[in-house]
Structure formats: structure tokens, C-alpha cells
């Protein structure tokens, strides 16, 4: 059971084969406020990296985030890992066509003087690493694309 975006304007998520219309309201640090199918839902939330803690209605839930990419990239759409800020590719750790497991390193990038490793967010086959080693990229550029191992 994970939530996937299936529409924008209005924002819609699919969870467990059901779709929900979602609007986000402002909330203080550590909290969230959503309107889901017209019902206001508020609670506390903390992103602990590999898992997200969510507290709603007096219950705390821990939602694991499988193969979350550390640092400067994540899965914008299911197949693509995009850069969150401009930078330079330092090294490739995989080749197109290679089978990788969730968490395997794909690319090391340097942004704002920090080196960050972009990792696979699921078990997959590397489709492409569009930015060559030592080449620079801009925010939003695709750093790696994956395809399902099927």
C-alpha cells in the first residue's frame, strides 16, 4: 500500500486501487493538514529518511520508504531519478542494461561542494544514465532512468 500521484489540478492520489482528491493546507513545523475527499485530516509527521512517522487520530504509524534515494535526487516519476539542484556527475556506478537492487548506488554527483550518491529506489534494470561522468547538469535533469525487470 503506497500512495501514487494520478492527477494534478486537483491533486489526486491512488492508494490500494482507490483514488482520493487531496488538497494541502498550511501547517506548522512537524504537522500536516490535508483535505482528502473533502474531509480535513490533520496530524503530526516526521520524515526520518528511510521511513516516515505519521500520527493521526491518536495513533502513530511508521511508513517505510523502500529504496529511498539519499540526498539530491528521488523518483519524480516512477522511472526517473532527477537532480534536485545543479551539479556535476562525479562517477557512474552502473551501466545501462545492468540489473540493480533497491539501494544500489547509481551515480555519485557533486552539488554545492557536497558529494551525494543517487541510489536505485527499487529493484530494476538501468535504462540510461543520461549525464556523462564529469559533465554538469541542471536542476530537474534526469540522472538515471530505470525500467522494470519483467
Amino acid at each position: 500500500m503506497t500512495a501514487a500521484i494520478v492527477g494534478r489540478n486537483p491533486l489526486r492520489f491512488r492508494v490500494d486501487d482507490r483514488e482520493y482528491t487531496v488538497a494541502e493546507l498550511a501547517a506548522p513545523d512537524g504537522e500536516f493538514a490535508l483535505v482528502i475527499d473533502g474531509v480535513r485530516v490533520t496530524g503530526h509527521r516526521h520524515d526520518a529518511g528511510d521511513r516516515v512517522f505519521v500520527r493521526i487520530a491518536g495513533r502513530t504509524f511508521v511508513v517505510p520508504r523502500a529504496g529511498r534515494a539519499a540526498g539530491a535526487a528521488g523518483a519524480a516519476s516512477r522511472g526517473e531519478l532527477r537532480a534536485e539542484m545543479p551539479g556535476r556527475v562525479v562517477r557512474h556506478h552502473a551501466r545501462p542494461g545492468q540489473r540493480v537492487a533497491a539501494g544500489d548506488p547509481l551515480v555519485t554527483v557533486e552539488s554545492m561542494k557536497l558529494q551525494l550518491v543517487i541510489a536505485a529506489d527499487r529493484d530494476a534494470i538501468v535504462a540510461a544514465l543520461p549525464v556523462a561522468e564529469h559533465a554538469t547538469f541542471d536542476r530537474g535533469d534526469v540522472l538515471a532512468s530505470l525500467e522494470d525487470d519483467a
Binding site: 500500500m1 503506497t2 500512495a3 501514487a4 500521484i5 494534478r8 491533486l11 492520489f13 492508494v15 490500494d16 482507490r18 482520493y20 487531496v22 494541502e24 498550511a26 501547517a27 506548522p28 513545523d29 512537524g30 500536516f32 490535508l34 482528502i36 474531509v39 485530516v41 496530524g43 503530526h44 509527521r45 516526521h46 520524515d47 526520518a48 516516515v52 512517522f53 505519521v54 500520527r55 493521526i56 487520530a57 491518536g58 495513533r59 502513530t60 504509524f61 511508521v62 511508513v63 520508504r65 529511498r68 535526487a73 528521488g74 523518483a75 519524480a76 516519476s77 532527477r82 534536485e84
Partner: protein, 477 residues
């Protein structure tokens, strides 16, 4: 009266002791291992001394560094809290040699009650019921005469360590050998003894204050039957259905031991109401706040007054009902195994009748280096039902995110019929696992959507705004 007290502890109990010191106008000295440099007790103290050791917990057990810290800061007294060196007669003696007042009982009284066999003998001498026990010096067959099931305990033990249940003669020798090796490992003393196991007992205890000269008063009772892994999780004061004679037995033991300072006399109460002396805890207990709430007394202030040689006051009246929940970093659904993580969000409950004794702060890393106790919720109400409602409210307000805790489990436990009825015993948790109900679909979906929207990439896909500016500073809008 002392002028400066070194608090040889950490976490919530160090904070709690320092607050009383401040109210009494006594300076406080914190000690800390580097892993605790941002911990609340270090910030709360007037002075602080770092203890150096490769193993964090060993730093707080290093008598030499603690006494050197007293010398360096001019502390004329030391409060040991609970755990660590609080029940070490040798350390209390070392304090005395160094001219530092140890806030606790005398080394002699500590030794007398600290050894389970000599404490049992003392209790029997003053007429307190003790179990028919057999000191095991062979492979265990000498204990078989007690019948089964049996409990094997370490003579030097406490806190459930070295304790083994034997349900039949076939496992006796193996369990005795295991208990001996645990006793040797934990306490450096392999002596063990056996007693008949009481099934589904309640754990009742009496808070006493002794003057060290044979005088003692009782500050009422506590029920600490709600335990997991032989450790208390919920305590309440006063205990319900206290057998006649139990409080007097506790006082007789404290007086005969010439016990000085605050201590607890523990008993096991069988379902039929018969009770047996269990042990004496020669220190302030984790659960002392429930007694403070029903008596209105400050037990740390009382400890300091006794250490200053003041006479014991008249025993207090008991008002209402107080309950404590120990909020621990642990996973109830996995046999209460300790959990680790960084406390990313911490919101403490407030309001009338709610006291929070916390030893943690937002941003703090919870590691396996220390005990899993994060904080204690203590509520007070005019009656037990009022206190239970208040505890449920406090648990609902409490938010600890970033590390798993037992808070939701405790809310289910308190809501359960046996606990509401007060029908408690030390095996209740083991017999009632109380798993969380799966969330209804709408709630489950809300959790997944809220979690997804914590992800910067999902947010970008959803809202197409530059995330650094959306999340830095103040409220998002």
C-alpha cells in the same frame, strides 16, 4: 544542609533531581558522557563535568571520575538517582571517605537489604511473610522438594535478571546452571536460590522514609503489577486491595534494618490475597512521582532533609489517585525490543493534573547505549477513573516521532477491560498482547498520502514549487 550536589545520573531522573535542588537553592553539577552533551540534564545544571569513557554507560559507573568531579566542582554531596551506582555500598563508602555526602541509605543498610538472602532473613525475623525458599548449592535437586512451578533467583539479584521459571523436574538442572551463569555475569556472584512460583501475582510496594536510627514512616503504597520483561511499565498509587499487615511489615523491615533515607519494600501478592516479602530497593524508584502526587510531598527534598539529619515528619495523608506510564523507545509488537532513532518531533502533553518527567529533547538521538526510558507521564485525579481518563488524554496529546515508542500500546492497555477494572497482575501483558487494530481504509489512505507528501520529490511532482523555499523557516503556506 548541603550547598552543591553532583547528580551522578542522566535522563529524566537527573533533570528531576536538579529541579528540586534549584527550588531549595542548592547548586547542581551534571556529569555527562560526550554522547549526552546536548541532553537536557546537562543544560539544566548549574555546572557540568564531562566523564570520559569509550563505553557511554560505563562513564556513569566510573566512581573515580565521579568523585574527582565532586572535588573539581566543590560538590559536598552526591545524588545517585536510580540505576548506575545508586545501590552500590562500595561507592557509598568511597563517597564517605572522600567527604562527600551520599544521598541514600548507609552502606551497611544497603548491604543488608541488597543481598536477597540476608534481606529475606531480616524480613522473616520481624515476622514478615517470606516464601519457603531453598538455597541451591547442588545441581538443583535440593529445590525439588518445594514442588513445581519454581522460581530460581540470584542472591545478589534484582530487576528480574538471573530469574528463571522451572515448570518441572526435567528442566531443573539446566535452568539452575543458566541462572548461576547469569547471576555470575550480572552481579559477580553465582549464588542462587529457589522459591515456589506464584502465578498471576500482583506487585505491591510501600514507599518508606527511614532516619537510619530505627525510625521509619510509610508514604503509602504503589501497585506496579503492569510489567514486561520483569520491568515495570505502569504504576499507580495508592494500590487497591492492600492486604492487612503489609504496610506494617514494610515498616518493621525498614526499622529493623536501621534504614536511612528513601526506600521501597516490595511484596508479591497472590490472587488469594496472601503476600510475601520480595525485596528492598535502597534508592529512589523510577515510579516515585505517583507517591509525590498523592502525598503532595517532594521525595528528593525529603531525601536531602534526611541526609541533613533532620527528624522524620509525620506520615502524609493520601489524596486521590496517581498513575505513571513509562514511555520507552521500544516496539511492543516485537516483544518490546528497544528501538533507536532521532526524535524529530516531540510534543509533550500539558494541562491540569498532568506531570511530565522528561529526559529527552527534540532533535535528540536515541541509541542503544542507554536505557530505553524516554520520559514518564504522571497524572493525578480525584479518583482512579478520573486519573485513567486523564492518562488517556495525556497519551493522546503526546507526540514522539522518529523513534518507535510504547505510547500507543499503553493507551490500548489502559483502555482494556482488565486494566480498567483494576484486575491486574504481572503476567497481564504477556497474556494479552493487544495488537493494534488495522486502520480503517480511509485512515490508512490518509497515512499513506501524508507520508508520500513528506517526500520532496512527491511534493515537487504534486505542486511544482522549489522545495528549499517551501520548507525553510516558519510555516509553509
Amino acid at each position: 544542609m548541603v550547598r552543591k550536589v553532583l547528580v551522578a545520573n542522566r535522563g529524566e531522573i537527573a533533570c528531576r533531581v536538579m529541579r528540586t535542588l534549584r527550588e531549595l537553592g542548592i547548586a547542581s553539577v551534571a556529569v555527562y558522557h560526550v554522547t549526552d552533551r546536548h541532553a537536557p540534564h546537562v543544560a539544566l545544571a548549574d555546572e557540568r563535568i564531562e566523564l570520559r569513557h569509550a563505553v557511554p554507560v560505563s562513564a556513569y559507573l566510573d566512581a573515580g571520575q565521579l568523585l574527582a568531579a565532586c572535588t573539581a566542582t566543590g560538590a559536598d554531596a552526591l545524588h545517585p538517582g536510580y540505576g548506575f551506582l545508586s545501590e552500590s555500598a562500595g561507592f557509598a563508602e568511597a563517597c564517605a571517605r572522600a567527604g562527600v555526602v551520599f544521598i541514600g541509605p548507609s552502606p551497611e543498610a544497603m548491604r543488608l537489604v541488597g543481598d536477597k538472602l540476608s534481606a529475606r532473613a531480616l524480613a522473616a525475623r520481624v515476622g514478615a511473610p517470606v516464601s519457603p525458599a531453598v538455597t541451591i548449592e547442588d545441581d538443583g535437586r535440593s529445590a525439588a522438594a518445594l514442588g513445581f512451578p519454581l522460581l530460581i533467583k540470584a542472591a545478589a539479584g534484582g530487576g528480574g535478571k538471573g530469574m528463571r521459571i522451572v515448570r518441572g523436574p526435567g528442566e531443573l538442572a539446566a535452568q539452575v546452571a543458566l541462572a548461576r551463569s547469569e547471576a555470575e555475569r550480572y552481579f559477580g556472584d553465582p549464588r542462587v536460590y529457589a522459591e515456589p512460583l506464584i502465578e498471576r501475582p500482583r506487585h505491591l510496594e510501600v514507599q518508606v522514609l527511614g532516619d537510619g536510627r530505627g525510625g521509619a514512616i510509610a508514604l503509602g503504597t504503589r501497585d506496579c503489577s503492569i510489567q514486561r520483561r520483569h520491568q515495570k511499565l505502569i504504576e499507580e498509587a495508592p494500590a487497591q486491595g492492600v492486604p492487612a499487615g503489609l504496610v506494617d511489615a514494610a515498616l518493621a523491615i525498614a526499622r529493623a534494618a536501621r534504614y536511612g533515607n528513601a526506600g521501597t519494600v516490595e511484596f508479591v501478592v497472590a490472587p488469594d490475597g496472601r503476600y510475601q516479602f520480595l525485596e528492598v530497593n535502597a534508592r529512589l524508584q523510577v515510579e516515585h512521582p505517583v507517591t509525590e502526587r498523592v502525598t503532595g510531598w517532594d521525595l528528593v527534598a525529603a531525601q536531602l532533609a534526611i541526609a541533613a539529619g533532620e527528624p522524620l515528619p509525620a506520615p502524609p495523608a493520601i489524596h486521590g489517585c496517581a498513575i505513571e506510564c513509562r514511555i520507552c523507545a521500544e516496539e511492543p509488537e516485537h516483544a518490546f525490543r528497544p528501538a533507536t532513532g532521532r526524535i524529530g518531533v516531540l510534543r509533550l502533553p500539558a494541562g491540569d493534573g498532568v506531570r511530565v518527567d522528561s529526559g529527552v529533547r527534540e532533535g535528540q538521538e536515541v541509541t542503544a547505549a542507554y536505557d530505553s526510558l524516554l520520559l514518564k507521564l504522571v497524572v493525578h485525579g480525584a479518583s482512579r477513573p478520573e486519573a485513567l481518563e486523564r492518562m488517556q488524554r495525556a497519551l493522546a496529546e503526546l507526540v514522539v516521532l522518529g523513534v518507535a515508542t510504547n505510547a500507543d500500546y499503553l493507551a490500548r492497555l489502559i483502555a482494556s477491560a482488565p486494566f480498567q477494572r483494576g484486575d491486574v497482575h504481572t503476567q497481564l501483558i504477556a497474556e494479552h498482547p493487544l495488537p493494534a487494530a488495522p486502520p480503517p481504509p480511509a485512515l490508512g489512505a490518509a497515512v499513506e498520502i501524508a507520508a508520500a507528501l513528506a517526500d520532496p520529490e512527491v511534493r515537487r511532482a504534486a505542486f511544482a514549487i522549489p522545495e528549499p523555499y517551501a520548507s525553510i523557516g516558519g510555516f509553509r503556506n
